[in-house]
């Protein structure tokens, strides 16, 4: 079975801890994205799975076999590098055929398999060229072709689309997803682009400072972030994170105070168990309903800057004491600069984070 399992792996470079106690399991046919800001340890994690870095501690199991002590060439994995890492001295065909030379199959068989993947990825016309003579998009497809040409235990992608322009990235995202869905292998994709992760992954593992913060389906990490970091990292525009004082909970509503406003917010019932004190309230910019009247349930703010985004409009609003709130409303909703806004957050999209940064959820 094509599976990947990493257990409590840690990587230290001298004193610096690049990855700390990371746990992750990828089932056969599953695509997991490692998502996080630059330097969070996601590429290091991938390189440990590949065997290009040795784990300082922990276990790496691929296809049921412990791999920690095996060099990369013995692990039977396929990897696509950020900068493609094509062999400059070999033709495109030679590049794609390279992994097959170690499988002890005949020349005719190699040629047949190279042609087959070249057809899938539309590389038939450039097989005789050198990597220096093809376009950026073709280089990317060659790198993918070289990975899928044989039958590896798993696929690893390191920022596979970061070098492509927006349009090409969009179409390659779909192509890679289609190719992967036919191969039913465990796949790990490293990316810092959340849209890439949300669209391509079955599950997303969000990393920060060497630790995996949350693993979940694209829906879960978006709708149920486990902590403030995940909440702020996923979603554009970024979630509003409002620091507030939690007073009490009754009838499904939490009474909180922030920026000199007393507001009753519909929140998760688990908030009832919270002690009064400092909390962070997270509300997605699209989760506000703009109402006409100031009530106990509304947050008060004044529209300061209005950015039309096409189908929607992004409003930067300011509370009385200067707190910034981002609100996204449909295009049809006309809002003028300086207008007072009365905002009611949607309950399902309102998250309360305790003082330790963890979400309070039933």
């Amino acid at each position: 079975m094509s599976t990947i399992e990493i257990r409590k792996i840690t990587k230290k470079f001298g004193q610096f801890v690049a990855v700390r106690d990371a746990d992750l399991s990828v089932a056969a046919g599953e695509v997991v994205c490692l998502l996080g800001p630059s330097g969070c340890g996601k590429t290091t994690t991938l390189r440990m799975i590949a065997g290009l870095e040795r784990a300082t501690a922990g276990e790496i199991v691929i296809a049921g076999q412990r791999m920690n002590d095996l060099p990369p060439e013995k692990r039977n994995i396929a990897m696509v590098f950020q900068f493609y890492a094509l062999y400059p001295a070999l033709t495109v065909g030679g590049n794609i055929a390279m992994p097959l030379h170690h499988e002890g199959i005949g020349k005719a068989e190699i040629a047949a398999r190279v042609n087959k993947v070249a057809d899938i990825l539309h590389l038939r016309d450039v097989l005789d060229r050198l990597p220096g003579q093809v376009s950026e998009g073709e280089k990317q497809r060659i790198a993918v072709a070289r990975a899928i040409v044989r039958d590896p235990n798993c696929f690893l992608f390191d920022e596979p689309l970061s070098r492509l322009d927006v349009e090409l990235r969009h179409s390659m995202r779909g192509q890679i997803k289609a190719v992967l869905s036919n191969l039913s292998k465990a796949t790990v994709i490293v990316t810092h682009d959340q849209l890439e992760a949300l669209t391509m992954a079955d599950r997303i593992a969000i990393m920060r400072d060497g630790s995996i913060e949350q693993v979940g389906s694209p829906h879960d990490v978006f709708a149920k972030p486990m902590n403030i970091f995940v909440a702020s990292f996923i979603g554009t525009p970024q979630m509003n994170l409002i620091e507030a004082q939690f007073k009490s909970y009754s009838d499904g509503k939490a009474k909180v105070v922030f920026d000199e406003q007393d507001v009753n917010l519909s929140v998760d019932p688990a908030v009832a168990n919270l002690r009064p004190g400092k909390v962070t309230v997270g509300v997605r910019p699209r989760a506000f309903t703009v109402v006409s009247k100031d009530t106990r349930d509304t947050i008060e703010a004044m529209a300061e800057l209005i950015e039309p985004m096409g189908a929607e409009t992004l409003i930067h609003a300011r509370t009385k004491t200067g707190g910034d709130i981002r609100v996204v409303v449909p295009r049809e909703k006309k809002v003028r600069t300086g207008e007072a806004l009365h905002l009611i957050p949607d309950r399902a999209q309102t998250h309360v984070f305790a003082a330790d940064g963890k979400a309070v959820r039933a």
Partner: protein, 314 residues
């Protein structure tokens, strides 16, 4: 990368629009400066084909041809190949038979000693450079510096201990001795040169090869080496020129059987008591130029890329 470059194009006769782009003025300036650089070599070659008695004539003869009457007759000489045959066998004493001069042997020595030592240094040095470039050992920079110190002292300073050591172990006058010495001397240069080439390569490509199932040896031979061919060519040519022309070590560490051309040339000039035979000397020099000229000529495609490597981002 482009194939099908004709011999004429290699020699500089490119079907380029160079003159059109640069203009005749600039082209002539460059040609003029190049000619000045080439003048000493041209003079040697002309001297080599002069009759012996014209070698030091005043005014000097300048050209084997009158260039359709452009050059006055007194500057023109009739070319001869006599000097070249004298290189290998000549009349040593008045009225005697021609005797072998041993220069065939000396040329053979020069070729063997220079090529073996430079190739050896290239093999060992490239492996060492790869190691220095890829494997971070504690103190790598210190080792590299120490390696370079062998080139910091002038040869004349090093020569005394080397002579004593060579005498002590019986390496004086042997092929092995001089080849070992030249190899050691070329190593410093080779390691530094090749390391900079390896440093330029993307380590991702090697990682990709490992993942694709290549052993370390295969990664080095199949992936790294093809990318540094320009570097190998440049290093080989520079090393060859240095070794081919080396005089001091060869003078003091080679014996009669292992003598190289520069040393033999010196002795041929000095011996005989008839004063310096300039035309003979020029003939030897002309022959001596040919091997390095050929190697440089055939590797120049790589050489140009080699010496500009790293200065232009790919």
């Amino acid at each position: 990368m482009e194939s099908g470059i004709s011999i004429w194009e290699r020699m500089g006769f490119r079907r380029s629009t160079g003159v059109v782009e640069a203009g005749w003025g600039r082209t002539l300036v460059v040609a003029g400066v190049s000619f000045i650089y080439f003048l000493p070599v041209l003079f040697i070659i002309f001297t080599a084909v002069k009759p012996q008695e014209l070698a030091l004539s005043v005014p000097p003869t300048l050209s084997p041809t009158s260039l359709f009457g452009l050059i006055p007759d007194q500057f023109v000489f009739t070319p001869t190949l006599e000097n070249f045959s004298s290189v290998f066998s000549r009349v040593m004493t008045a009225g005697g038979q021609p005797e072998a001069t041993g220069f065939d042997r000396f040329f053979f020595n020069s070729v063997v000693i220079a090529s073996v030592s430079v190739l050896l240094a290239l093999v060992i040095g490239t492996l060492a450079a790869y190691g220095f470039s890829r494997f971070a050992l504690k103190g790598n920079d210190t080792y590299l510096f120490i390696i370079l110190t062998t080139r910091m002292l002038p040869a004349i300073v090093v020569i005394i201990p080397v002579i004593l050591m060579f005498r002590a172990v019986g390496l004086s006058g042997s092929y092995l001795g001089i080849i070992m010495l030249y190899t050691a001397f070329n190593l410093a240069f080779t390691i530094w040169m090749m390391k900079s080439f390896f440093d330029e390569l993307s380590p991702d490509v090697e990682d990709a090869a490992r993942i694709d199932g290549s052993s370390e040896l295969k990664v080095f031979c199949k992936i790294c080496l093809p990318q540094v061919i320009a570097g190998l060519a440049a290093t080989f040519v520079f090393g060859l020129i240095l070794t081919w022309n080396e005089f001091l070590f060869a003078l003091l560490l080679t014996g009669p059987d292992t003598r190289t051309v520069p040393v033999a040339m010196n002795q041929a000039v000095a011996s005989g008591g008839r004063g310096t035979d300039w035309t003979l000397l020029a003939a030897i020099e002309t022959l001596f130029l040919i091997p390095v000229f050929l190697v440089t000529f055939f590797l120049q495609e790589h050489l140009l890329r080699g010496v500009t490597f790293g200065t232009v981002r790919k």
